[in-house]
């Protein structure tokens, strides 16, 4: 008994040592590319080639950043903010509108409509890409920031409706019932009761959809052409054409595009993590 206990202790020590070693390896693997990006973004074009890629920069050299920021980066950023805000507002409002009857009303088509909306979660965007491209052209909004709004909203809606419906089902019914007796109709109920009560669900969705819309690439790439109308994920793409041989410059563009997320992570870590995994629902 004593011997076995000792054996177990040795075994567990060894397995802990292995686990810790692996954890350290995983830390390096996760963090090194990031360090590579940030370090090199401060280097001069030749400093990187002569000093090696892993060395910290000699000094905090902001010239790359200055050049990127004066080279149209602000425009991409502004476009991204605009597309994000408008898309997000529409998604949250429309999803809340849809989730309310699906969670609360008894009507014949309820199950069918819900299934129809939720089934859209599995649809690959590529099946819509060509028709949406044509539609955008014939509407005359090709190569404007308006082009991205519709597809962004449409592909964010199914999961948003799915999450909000289950959230609204969890809101206690008693409040509404008493309001209904007082003669409150369904429309007033939605704006005065349901929307405020659904705030926690809406804020989680805002983060989830916000991150996705902020990073959206395929539609932005297909539906816009000129740098002045493009969003942030394409800034890297366009800058690469300009500075393809200048790795530090690209790294500073990358660092700048990640910066908003880093700031969000520092100040609202728990909310961000929770929001980003909101999409992990059982299909």
């Amino acid at each position: 008994m004593e011997k076995q206990y000792a054996e177990n202790r040795i075994k567990s020590r060894i397995s802990w040592a292995i686990a810790t070693a692996l954890a350290v390896v995983a830390l390096f693997a996760a963090f090194m590319p990031f360090v590579f990006m940030v370090f090199n973004s401060f280097k001069g074009k030749f400093e990187m080639l002569t000093k090696g890629v892993f060395s910290p920069p000699e000094k905090l050299n902001f010239t790359n950043y200055q050049e990127v920021l004066s080279g149209g980066f602000v425009r991409y950023f502004g476009n991204s903010v605009f597309v994000l805000c408008l898309s997000l507002l529409l998604v949250l409002f429309i999803a809340a509108c849809a989730a309310y009857p699906l969670a609360r009303f008894k009507f014949r088509m309820n199950g069918f409509v819900y299934a129809l909306i939720v089934a859209c979660m599995a649809i690959p965007i590529h099946i819509t890409l060509i028709p949406v491209f044509q539609m955008t052209k014939s509407l005359g909004i090709y190569d404007t920031i308006w082009a991205m709004i519709g597809p962004n909203v449409a592909f964010a809606l199914p999961i948003s409706v799915f999450i909000l419906t289950s959230f609204m089902m969890g809101i206690p019914k008693e409040i509404e019932e008493s309001a209904e007796i007082d003669g409150c109709n369904k429309y007033r109920m939605f704006f005065t009761m349901i929307l405020p009560l659904a705030k926690p669900g809406l804020s989680t969705l805002a983060i989830y959809n916000g991150v996705n819309i902020w990073n959206e690439f395929s539609f932005a790439y297909t539906l816009t052409q000129s740098p002045k109308n493009r969003t942030l994920p394409l800034a890297v793409w366009d800058f690469q054409g300009q500075y393809s041989m200048n790795t530090p410059m690209i790294m500073s563009v990358l660092t700048l595009t990640v910066l908003p997320m880093i700031i969000l992570f520092i100040f609202a870590q728990d909310k961000l993590v929770k929001g980003m995994t909101a999409g992990a629902v059982k299909g």
């Binding site: 567990s12 686990a19 692996l22 954890a23 995983a26 830390l27 693997a29 996760a30 963090f31 590319p33 990031f34 590579f36 990006m37 890629v53 429309i94 509108c97 849809a98 009857p101 009303f105 009507f107 014949r108 088509m109 909306i117 859209c120 599995a122 649809i123 690959p124 590529h126 099946i127 819509t128 890409l129 060509i130 044509q134 539609m135 449409a154 592909f155 809606l157 199914p158 409706v161 429309y187 902020w214 690439f217 395929s218 297909t222 994920p233 394409l234 890297v236 793409w237 790795t247 690209i250 990358l254 595009t257 990640v258 880093i262 992570f265 993590v273 980003m276 995994t277 992990a280 299909g283």
Partner: protein, 309 residues
Amino acid sequence: MLERGMAYMKDKANSLGGRRRRSTNIAALVFLLPVLLILSVFIFYPIVDSFLISTYRWNGIAAEKTFVGISNWIKLVGDRDFWFAFRNNIIIMVMSIIIQIPIGLAEATFIEFVGKKGTVCKVLWFIPMLMSSVAIGFLFNYALAANGGMISAVSQLFGGGNIDLLGNKNTALMTVIFVIAWQFIPFYMVYCMAAYTNVSEDVYEASLIDGATKGQYFWRIALPLLMPSIKSAAILSMVGSLKYFDLIYVMTGGGPGTATELMATYMYKNAFAQFNMGYGSAIAGGMFILITLLSLVTMRAINGRKEEE
């Protein structure tokens, strides 16, 4: 269906309950109208339109379209490049499930066992998730570059030469798979951490009191309890891998040759680089059908097993 619904509503409208039901129906319609409108315009109509376009030969710009019937589809069924791309999708799918979920689970378990001290790990391990696919693609393009990349630098440290992982046909796909793993492991880590919160603290303490080691606790108690979450993680990973586009398009564009071609990149190239809208639509349609079929089969398999239990 709608007409019948209207007639039904008319019959019932006379009674008080009927009037109430009618106002509920109208309210439901008002609230659901925006979502149905948007989905119709940007998802339902485009799907139908894609299948229609797939019966034409068309460059997307000229007014004239040539109706070619199902010849695009016949071409697709016999198109080696498409099936090779599908094969790549399947490889990425299987490798993603094999690599990402176990490592994510291991990281979550480590954090679970270490407790508060694990916060540093938690923060650093999460970092890849802050970057978009496009940013990750570009970062690794440079980090893995033969000239001035990280891997080459390490290799030189040990006296080796430059290594071009992405430019080599034999290593490109595996390299891309590891970059995808780098991107998504944090997601499964957070996912498994959330799953762990459902395993009650009491079970953990009780098992330790009963003399179980942490290893025994993990394999015999925690893992079976986490299994349902792991299964749905696998479904998520599966559907995601079949739709994969951004990162690969940015990193390799499907190359070198067709080594990392995916259904989505193949479709994109045909439609928007060669302006073959008809064939591009057929590829997109094929991709849509394959994804739907695979998802249905998997769901059926997993739900069927649930019924047996």
